[in-house]
């Protein structure tokens, strides 16, 4: 076990965990942040995506020790039902989910995309989300939501 200092959603918190624990389990179980989800544990589906130092990363394969003192943003860090982030609001406007289990990854990946490329083309959005899986088949709505969030005409 080791004491590790994390900077999550702007708050510094110290956890006492096995340093080999993937960040995902610490976020979920120690910090009670349910946004990131376990989907595969293999970095294949994207359900666990968080933003670390500006990049969308897979928290299921990122050791908690590697996140030490790096700014981490989870879905909860974007907004709440009371005050939604524009990407979250765009997903409501487009009704862009069904079960929503993958949607954390869609939003966090889109956030990282829009931070770097505020007006992406359709194919740039598709490319950015190519590594995120959705089983309900909400893809066309998700694409529209990201476009809407970027302020472009849907």
């Amino acid at each position: 076990m080791a004491r590790i200092s994390l900077k999550v959603n702007g708050k510094t918190q110290v956890v006492d965990v096995d340093p080999e624990t993937p960040l995902l389990y610490v976020l979920r179980n120690d910090l009670q942040l349910n946004g990131p989800k376990f989907g595969c544990g293999l970095a294949q589906c994207g359900a666990c995506t968080v933003i670390m130092s500006g990049n969308a990363i897979r928290s299921c394969v990122t050791l908690v020790s590697a996140a030490q003192n790096q700014p981490v943003t989870t879905l909860e860090g974007l907004g709440s039902t009371k005050k939604m982030h524009k990407i979250q609001q765009a997903f409501v406007d487009e009704q862009a989910l069904q079960c929503g289990y993958c949607i954390n990854g869609m939003i966090m990946t889109s956030k990282a995309l829009l931070d770097k490329n505020p007006k992406p083309t359709d194919s740039q959005i598709k490319e950015a989300l190519a590594g995120n899986l959705c089983r309900c088949g909400t893809h066309t709505r998700i694409l529209r939501a990201v476009k809407r969030a970027s302020g472009q005409k849907v």
Partner: protein, 757 residues
């Protein structure tokens, strides 16, 4: 610690609605529905209070026995109740299913909730409305027929000052009224004698209300089954054999013992699991455990060829004949030309994005479960049998899971969690790992479809013989079947499995001599293997429709007939099917001509294909526009057009969302998906060995909704999966002249066809 119980209670407090205790077991004798429940008994469907309650502020709480599986059905059901009671949509609160508080309306499955559960809630609401009018009549001293209601306020016609709200009439009190309720589950008839509102007066039904739970899902505030945490909860993982349910011959715990937080290695029969204090420790310990498994008594089939040979050559359990008219043999003998073809469909996965997860808290003689089961009462029965408890001592609290598409009708993980919790005497959360889920989920089974037809001298089909051969579905909770953990501790099934459906074999057409059947072949092993079978999205329909709608296309092509016109000849009595076919083809800009299209000269070939389907009386017409790369065999669906007639539409945008999802998921199944295996086990254990569709391959989608207010509301969404593979296969043929009779339509298969051509 934030749990669903807490947030729900706060939520109800916040809206001023009733306060429901979700933590106590047995339930406290609260107001409303719970008051109709004695300890250990269930809500009485003949008591109006069992269905809904109205708070002083007018909030209507509905104790629905149906659950939202991520399809938005809770929103649609709330619309139905709001409509019938004439209260604002936002005033309806749907309470998550709790087996001690909800009426058993049957499993939530098959896209049949609006069709079956909708009228049950509508009639309960209509009965409540009738009762409220009686109360208002007395309060306002006016005859019932002079009363009108708007937004939950009843007033007297011509004297709007005389008014009273529902909240004032009944708020916080019970109705204490009996209604009729006969039959059970899906077939329960609730208050049929009460006249429901006329459809022409509908204001909420038919509008695209936004999904009630989406904001919380988008911010991490929603509590999925995976997010349930209860005090003292430990973490479990299961360790399953790679092939079949053989016993752990030896278990070496030494490597797991050093992992801090290990609570117990649990072995019961051939069931093996780990319980730890933290989730990561449980994952590590399950991986570290060294197990040697005894030699399996039955083997997996060696490959897909072996499965199809077995299906073809094995005597059926029952033939499931749905159409049998005329004299097939005579007609085939008289035909001027006959056709014959065989089609194959592989084992496929549901592939839930979130692997199975449940929390169980098992005490000495009672158990509580938090799970995303599609059948809470089925899970209750299965777990009660597993633990040897009376059913009334098991409480199941539904928590929405990852979209499950039929998979969670077999709630394996609740049984795993129950066994592990019993072993340690504490609440245990179990989540399957990705390879557990891919490896052991009950799969949509392989199907082998055999078709024969004969045409007369005028090119008219006079004989049609269709047999869909396949396996019964043997994995389901609580229906005489046994799930993994039950099997592993030695419990035997008492049933041989359920039907994989029968629709889609060409019965939508009227042929003079016609036979459509779906013979069920007993599955190979007596023990469960990773090729266990379960309900997958419109069970069996996609394969049957692929076969029958390809077959009719083959005949049309041979006779140089336009595929749409050719189909229309045999839809003579089915106006809805004609309308759906015409609506889809018109929207797609269909040009009348036979298939295949004239050969193209470039590197890419373009084609269009059509198909129609009828699942549970919901009718779809589908047109696929595809592009085939002649050099690689790669198929790109450029555009998909689908017409959908499910009678009265409750929520158009919600319905569209479901249809889009079914098109995309079914495209993925048609083009990419096949469970790989050999004699030693499943080879598709992650997303790289079982690829599914990704964003760059998603086509443009156009949907034509056909609303029929004169009809009841039927199932929406899932029926649209049925024609997808057929339309794509027919489009590939149109583009290239290559007829694919086996799914998925991989580049290798297309290329092999192109080389032969």
């Amino acid at each position: 610690m934030k749990t669903m119980e807490f947030t729900r209670r706060q939520f109800l407090k916040g809206t001023g609605a009733l306060i429901v205790s979700f933590n106590l077991f047995p339930p406290a004798s609260d107001l409303f529905a719970q008051a109709t429940v004695g300890p250990g008994s269930e809500p009485d469907p003949t008591s109006l209070d069992s269905w809904l309650a109205i708070a002083q502020d007018g909030t209507v709480t509905v104790f629905s026995g149906k659950v939202d599986l991520g399809t938005g059905v809770e929103t649609a059901l709330a619309q139905i109740v709001a409509e019938e009671l004439d209260v604002p949509f936002k005033q309806i609160k749907m309470i998550g299913l709790d087996t001690t508080k909800a009426i058993d309306q049957g499993i939530t499955a098959g896209s049949r909730t609006i069709e079956r559960g909708g009228p049950q809630l509508r009639q309960a609401a209509a009965a409540a409305r009738q009762e409220l009018f009686k109360l208002a009549s007395a309060r306002l001293n006016a005859p019932v027929d002079t009363l009108a209601v708007k937004d939950g306020v009843v007033s007297v016609a011509g004297n709007p000052a005389k008014k009273v709200s529902y909240g004032e009439l009944i708020g916080g009190k019970q109705f204490n009224v009996k209604i009729t309720a006969t039959g059970t589950g899906w077939d329960m008839k609730v208050a049929p004698e009460v006249k429901a509102k006329d459809v022409k007066d509908y204001k909420v039904v038919g509008t695209s209300q936004k999904r009630v739970e989406l904001p919380a899902k988008l911010t991490g505030e929603f509590t999925y089954a995976h997010d349930v945490r209860i005090p003292g909860m430990l973490h479990g993982r299961v360790v399953r054999p790679p092939t079949i349910t053989s016993k752990p011959a030896s278990v070496d715990e030494s490597t797991a013992k050093n992992i801090p937080g290990l609570v117990k290695v649990v072995q019961e029969g051939s069931f093996l699991g780990i319980v730890c204090e933290t989730e990561w420790a449980a994952i590590k310990a399950a991986r570290a455990l060294r197990v040697s498994w005894s030699e399996p008594t039955t083997k997996m089939p060696a490959d897909a060829e072996a499965v199809f040979a077995y299906i073809k050559n094995t005597k059926s359990l029952r033939d499931q004949v749905t159409v049998n008219k005329g004299n097939l043999d005579t007609a085939l003998g008289q035909a001027s030309k006959t056709y014959k073809a065989t089609y194959r469909w592989p084992f496929q996965l549901h592939g839930m994005m979130g692997p199975s997860c449940a929390v169980a808290d098992v005490g000495k003689d009672r158990a509580t479960l938090y799970t995303g089961t599609q059948g809470s009462f089925d899970t209750r029965k299965a777990v009660a049998e597993l633990l040897g408890f009376p059913e009334k001592n098991v409480r199941v609290l539904y928590r929405e899971s990852s979209g499950s598409y039929g998979r969670m009708g077999a709630d394996d993980v609740s049984e795993d969690a129950a066994l592990l919790s019993r072993a340690v005497g504490k609440p245990v959360r179990v989540q399957w790992m990705r390879d557990d889920e891919h490896g052991w989920e009950p799969k949509g089974p392989a199907q082998l479809d055999l078709a024969r037809a004969g045409v007369d001298a005028q090119g008219r089909i006079i004989a049609w013989d269709f047999a869909d051969r396949g396996f019964p579905l043997t994995a389901a909770s609580g229906r005489g079947l046994r799930l993994l953990a039950s099997r592993q501790i030695g419990m035997k099934p008492t049933a041989d499995g359920n039907s994989n459906g029968t629709a889609g074999g060409g019965e939508i057409y009227a042929f003079e001599n016609q036979r459509c059947a779906a013979p069920l072949v007993p599955w190979v092993q007596t023990d469960e293997t990773p090729l266990r079978t379960g309900y997958l999205r419109a069970p069996g329909d996609m394969a049957r429709c692929f076969a029958s709608e390809s077959f009719i296309d083959e005949i049309a092509a041979d006779l140089r007939a336009d595929p749409v016109q050719f189909r229309l000849r045999y839809l003579s009595n089915n106006q809805r099917a004609i309308d759906a076919l015409i609506a889809a083809t018109k929207q797609a800009g269909w040009q009348e001509r036979p298939s295949p299209a004239p050969a193209s000269t470039g590197p890419k070939a373009m084609g269009r294909g059509v198909a129609i389907s009828n699942r549970a009386n919901t009718i779809c017409g589908a047109v696929a526009d595809v592009e085939v790369d002649k050099a690689t065999g790669n198929v790109t669906v450029k555009r998909f057009t689908l017409s959908h007639d499910c009678g009265l539409i409750i929520n158009p945008d919600g319905l569209k969302n479901q249809i889009e999802g079914n098109i995309i998921q079914s495209m993925s199944r048609a083009l990419l998906e096949e469970v790989k295996f050999d004699g030693t086990g499943i080879k598709s254990l992650d997303w790289s060995s079982y690829p599914i569709i990704r964003f760059p391959d998603v086509p443009e989608i156009e949907i034509v909704l056909i609303n029929r207010p004169e009809m009841p509301a039927l199932g929406g969404g899932e029926p649209s999966s049925a024609p997808i593979a057929a339309a794509i296969a027919n489009a590939i043929f149109d583009a290239t002249g290559v007829r694919l009779r086996e799914a998925p339509f991989t580049p290798e298969r297309v290329l092999a066809g192109l080389k032969k051509a």
